[in-house]
């Protein structure tokens, strides 16, 4: 059976994606820091689906290790899903560059470093798919989370370029832009229920998008229209809003 490699596998969206793909016949590589903590989760999928699930140690910030990490995979995956995400503390990131750097390197630089390695492999063998979880926060900078937002904006642009490059090699790149999702990342926020997706809904959307050859998706679907409105607000007005 083909493997899916999931990076940032501890996130709730990653876990939902893992379940979804295992249920649809994929074996899994789950990569994260302190990957031992994923063992119970991995065993859960093994028992439920009878698929192979391996937990792999990966530090997305240790750029130099990425080539070795990928080389060490015995069987190369058919696809990869990056669910790496670090919201960080916006105020802190304005005062302490360290925090800003961690946000940028986790959400953007680290993902670029690893996906560069994987993309070359997929390009050479002329098959595969790359799913990148970006965010609607990357569509327009807002004072409440623009460090995170700018890193996700960069990621979206990177994925777009990657798609442009890899299409000729029959490799699909799917940019996923979730709106509000009920996860550990947002557990302290008071999110409007009607606009908030479950990780399972996101995973369903991601899987359907990949199977149906979509390029960019918003999840839930209505975020496309919400973001359209937000992007349409003229900058002279937007800058005055408390967002």
């Amino acid at each position: 059976m083909p493997y899916l490699l999931i990076i940032g596998a501890k996130s709730d969206i990653a876990k939902a994606i893992a379940n979804k793909y295992a249920e649809n016949g994929y074996d899994l590589y789950l990569a994260a820091r302190n990957s031992k903590e994923l063992e119970t989760f991995a065993q859960d999928i093994r028992v439920k689906t009878d698929k192979k699930v391996e937990c792999l140690e990966l530090d997305i910030l240790d750029f130099a290790s990425h080539q070795d990490f990928y080389n060490n995979l015995n069987e190369k995956p058919e696809g990869v899903a990056s669910a790496v995400g670090y919201l960080g503390d916006q105020t802190e990131s304005q005062k302490e560059f360290n925090e800003a750097q961690t946000i940028i390197n986790t959400n953007y630089t680290g993902v670029v470093s690893l996906l560069n390695v994987i993309a070359s492999n997929f390009e050479a063998r002329k098959s595969g798919f790359i799913i990148g979880i970006s965010s609607v926060a990357g569509e327009r900078g807002r004072q409440s989370n623009y460090t995170y937002g700018s890193a996700k904006a960069a990621l979206s642009a990177y994925l777009s370029g990657l798609r442009n490059r890899l299409t000729a090699s029959n490799v699909a790149v799917i940019t996923v832009k979730p709106g509000f999702v009920d996860t550990q990342m947002t557990e302290d926020m008071d999110l409007p229920k009607a606009l908030t997706a479950t990780p399972q809904q996101v995973a369903d959307d991601v899987y359907n998008a990949q199977v149906n050859g979509k390029n960019i998706i918003y999840t839930r679907w209505f975020w496309k229209w919400i973001m359209l409105i937000i992007k349409t607000i003229p900058e002279w007005k937007f800058k005055q809003l408390k967002l």
Binding site: F41, D44, K48, T49
Partner: protein, 432 residues
């Protein structure tokens, strides 16, 4: 936000407690009293309602599966629906399922649920090899029919009053189809219905929809179904899609006229005396799961389910009297279920005993409690008892008469200091 039971009656304010790890749960137990574990809130009455409610449902990992022995090890929050979803395609099914698959393993053990095959396979505890239980002081005990037997006997059917069930090993049965071959038998009256249960007693699954509005010579007429898994190798099971009831229907939706009409229609839509069908396992075992939030059809004031069982010796006269009483008052329900049961097990508070059980839904209204008290009297007269999982109102006296092992249960609760920690509205009401 407060948690309600499936019947939406009674309603109380409560504090919901979540835990991620075993240590977490230990601390929560230390810091709270008046606490009860809850699974998926599908018990009908007040058995999982308390000031502090431990949410076990998120504790839902699959731990291991022994392919050879067919033994599945899961955490207590796993839903039967999940086991069915993942294991039917691999040719396995739960040995015991009740009328809904949306209950947790912990709930199935605590209610010691039974299904349409009770007369052959017994209760859920008969398919439970062992489970671990957290006691009031945070100690964890492994319980099985041979290890910590007293805790096993008290916890199966013990309505969560002995501690928090953490994980369990259950045994699955091999199947070779997602379909059930079913035979439907139409009966004319109660005598006929009883004869059919006797005749088809060796069939794996059997039960009957009984028309509780029919009187006189038609009293006890039923649509009985018997069946078992087909053997066609078709295992490509996908859980069936659900229809949702998005809001509470107005309180007048269900009344004695609609209920009576419904029973007649249901009876007469089955034309032949005996007919055969093949249907999806969801449609067979869990027909009411097909509608999400079905409990909302009874309106905001909620509903009660009344499920009682009578020993085989008195079942016929007892049921005749019960049904007469129900049809006279016209409070009766849309679909009432009759089932013949096998021998009782040794658990202190498990519901089934050798005889016949009757399950009825009643919409909450003013005269209802008095009416049900009347049914209780009939029940008592014939040595029957009620099902705690569905109960929100039975009197202590009626309850105690039906459960001769209650003192053993109470002593055990005292011995392990459970009664100072684990309590529900139901345990207070009945002095469990």
């Amino acid at each position: 936000m407060s948690i309600n039971s499936w019947g939406n009656y009674p309603k109380i304010n409560n504090n919901s407690i979540k835990f991620n790890t075993i240590d977490d749960l230990k601390n929560q137990l230390k810091n709270h009293s008046e606490i009860i574990a809850c699974g998926n809130n599908r018990s009908y009455g007040d058995s999982a309602l308390s000031n502090n409610i431990i949410q076990v449902k998120p504790f839902n990992k699959f731990l291991d599966f022994d392919q050879k022995a067919g033994v599945l090890h899961i955490q207590a929050g796993v839903l039967l629906a999940d086991i069915i979803k993942y294991f039917v395609p691999r040719g396995w099914f739960l040995k015991i399922v009740p009328g809904t698959k949306f209950i947790t393993i912990g709930g199935a053990i605590a209610s010691d649920v039974h299904g349409k095959n009770h007369h052959i396979d017994g209760c859920f505890s008969e398919s439970t090899l062992e489970f671990s239980l957290m006691l009031p002081d945070g100690q964890i005990k492994l319980c099985s029919p041979s290890k910590n037997q007293d805790l096993f006997r008290a916890t199966c059917g013990g309505m969560g009053l002995t501690g928090v069930i953490l994980d369990a090993k259950i045994s699955l049965r091999k199947i070779n189809s997602k379909f059930i071959s079913q035979t439907t038998i139409k009966t004319e009256n109660l005598e006929d219905t009883f004869a059919a249960f006797e005749k088809y007693n060796s069939e794996k699954y059997n039960f009957a929809w009984i028309d509780c509005f029919a009187r006189g010579k038609n009293l006890g007429r039923s649509i009985m179904t018997i069946g078992d898994f087909a053997d066609d190798g078709q295992l490509d099971y996908i859980p069936s899609q659900k229809i949702n009831i998005p809001f509470f229907l107005p309180n007048f939706t269900i009344n004695k006229f609609t209920a009576g009409m419904f029973n007649k229609l249901y009876y007469y839509q089955t034309k032949q005396q005996i007919s055969h069908q093949k249907l999806d396992l969801d449609a067979y075992f869990f027909p009411l799961d097909g509608i999400d939030n079905l409990n909302r059809v009874w309106g905001k004031s909620g509903f009660l389910q009344y499920q009682c069982i009578l020993p085989k010796e008195t079942a016929f006269v007892g049921l005749t009297e019960l049904i007469e009483c129900i049809s006279r008052t016209k409070l009766g329900s849309h679909l009432s279920v009759l089932k013949k049961h096998g021998k009782a097990n040794e658990n202190y508070l498990s519901f089934p005993l050798e005889g016949y059980s009757l399950a009825l839904d009643f919409k909450m209204n003013n005269g209802l409690f008095k009416h049900l008290d009347h049914l209780d009297q009939i029940l008592q007269k014939y040595g029957g008892r009620i099902y705690l999982t569905k109960d929100a109102r039975v009197s202590k006296q009626v309850f105690e008469r039906g459960y001769p092992n209650i003192e053993k249960f109470r002593e055990l609760r005292k011995k392990y200091k459970m009664s100072q920690k684990f309590n529900s509205l139901q345990s207070h009401r009945l002095g469990l």
